[in-house]
Symmetry: C2
Subunit: 353 residues, 2 copies
Amino acid sequence: MPRIKPLELRNQPKEIIVTINRQWRLKTRPSGLIGPEHFEYVETELADIGAEEVLVRNLCLSFDPTQRGWVNDMESYMPPVGIGEVMRAGTVGQVVESNHAGFEPGDLVQGLGGWQDFFTVPNGVGLSKLPEGISPEQALGVFGTTGLTAYFGLLDLSEPKPGDTVLVSGAAGATGSVVGQIAKIKGARVVGIAGGPEKCAWLTGSLGFDAAIDYKNESVAEGVARHCPDRINVFFDNVGGDILEIGLSHLAMNARVILCGGISGYNETEPQPGPKNIMNLVITRSRMEGFIIVDYLHRIGEFLADMMPWYQQGLVQHKEDVQEGFENIPSTLQRLFSGQNTGKQLLKLADPS
Amino acid sequence: MPRIKPLELRNQPKEIIVTINRQWRLKTRPSGLIGPEHFEYVETELADIGAEEVLVRNLCLSFDPTQRGWVNDMESYMPPVGIGEVMRAGTVGQVVESNHAGFEPGDLVQGLGGWQDFFTVPNGVGLSKLPEGISPEQALGVFGTTGLTAYFGLLDLSEPKPGDTVLVSGAAGATGSVVGQIAKIKGARVVGIAGGPEKCAWLTGSLGFDAAIDYKNESVAEGVARHCPDRINVFFDNVGGDILEIGLSHLAMNARVILCGGISGYNETEPQPGPKNIMNLVITRSRMEGFIIVDYLHRIGEFLADMMPWYQQGLVQHKEDVQEGFENIPSTLQRLFSGQNTGKQLLKLADPS
């Protein structure tokens, strides 16, 4: 429980137990690689909640490449995190106190809880209960934003068909690994790009990718040419930069390039030049399209109806990289940008009570 | 008439009149700006036509930015023009002799006749008769590839709605000027980018564009920001390069970027870097798509059903820049890349007989 209210007896000493809310706040905006030096550790006293508010204790934090964009001083699909504000993050938590009819103590919920122990939500806005039988880790991964991103990004922006070749970059990441497995379910040939022999072996082994290209140890251009002899029908790109350019060079006719992200450029101090071969989109009559998963949150039922059975049947597997320790939160974000994580990057603060 | 056959009388002298076919052939592949030095003037004797062949005399040549790509030594949507081959070009001509049931002498026809006086087509392949009442100039412009490109590029790859802002680059060119007028018919606000005050005055005057930005005399970025306060819903880009990057910086949500061409890069010796801000496609959930008009030729009926009345009612106007003289063919192509033409660039060789 976060806070025991003081006894309201006049003329007697009051006993106050204050609950401390640990936080990591944005101290300075990074120019280049983001790191612990850009955040400040703060302990604050947790305030009482007001009417219609819900108090949640964070159990598990999600780490996502898009967080790098949130700390830049520019408008994007969300306003930037302000200096001195708690770092924004997707989290799963447990309701500890609720003045809102929709939530009660003990409920497992998901929201943008941020890098802190507790967060308060007015009117339950942005808070959703976890579906029955789904763990916090799963809710932030395969059944959460990651799975949604893979599912709607791939299936709403393209229609992979049997025989199509689907290329996925960042393929051993949380989203990429699910994209490839969904494409396999749809009957496509799937080629993944990932860093290092272990990740590549995981893709072609457990996950059933048809081929994997190890960008740390081989030429991606040669790998794509070799593994995509009929060129690429669908390119799901999480990386941008050179990888995007190589993909654009190998498009089949009427190809679909799905821009999910561009992690290669997120920590650059200057905007990087774009691909030199954009005109390949003209020659091959192809489409390149971006999306943001927040636009699809209302379609989560559609997603779960497919993903639940796929997961239960083992058609979609999911790996989580779970770190621990409040003090390790900022450095855990860096793991995404150095490619240390395989699968979904999480940090666990506590188990449900 | 191309050739008078010799009188077939034995034991008498034969009188032969040979018809000379003037040609411009590709001599060397340009690296950088294309010019007359890359072509060779040749006179050849016109051969008899064979079974099912049709002989056509070129009356009018079309000049199109895409011709620059045809002389590069790389596969594209058509094979490159070979060294020593007649330069490929869209033309309107008149049938002078036909061994094919579908065509007879006098027919006005359109095809890829190339830079020469005469061309021969087996089985009438690639040859189509001009619709009734359409002049050679119109057939190569507003009712030809130019009009088709504007019509299907704009309306098949986007759906401009009343109130939308449509930005057009190369707006005083053959295609761009028609794109803007179609967008106006659909009720959109139309902003054009063109070079020089005369072109801009033509756009906002005769053609009814809402605004024009003179890229030779003002900052395009400032102009776009000023004239597109609600950002851009549809961007029809003929130019590429910096102009594409500026357009991408001003996209509205769910915008459509139609890649028609990238004339700014066609004469570069090295591929130019792409736009630094491709990730704006993600933030704005936008789509960038290329197309080639050859995919739409079978839908010409649909196009004419709209364009004929628009043209007759003056809703679509069309300007042609008609050069003359066989010797001026190669230098006329250069006019496109220096922006000398307003509207459709043509060269007239002869009137119909």
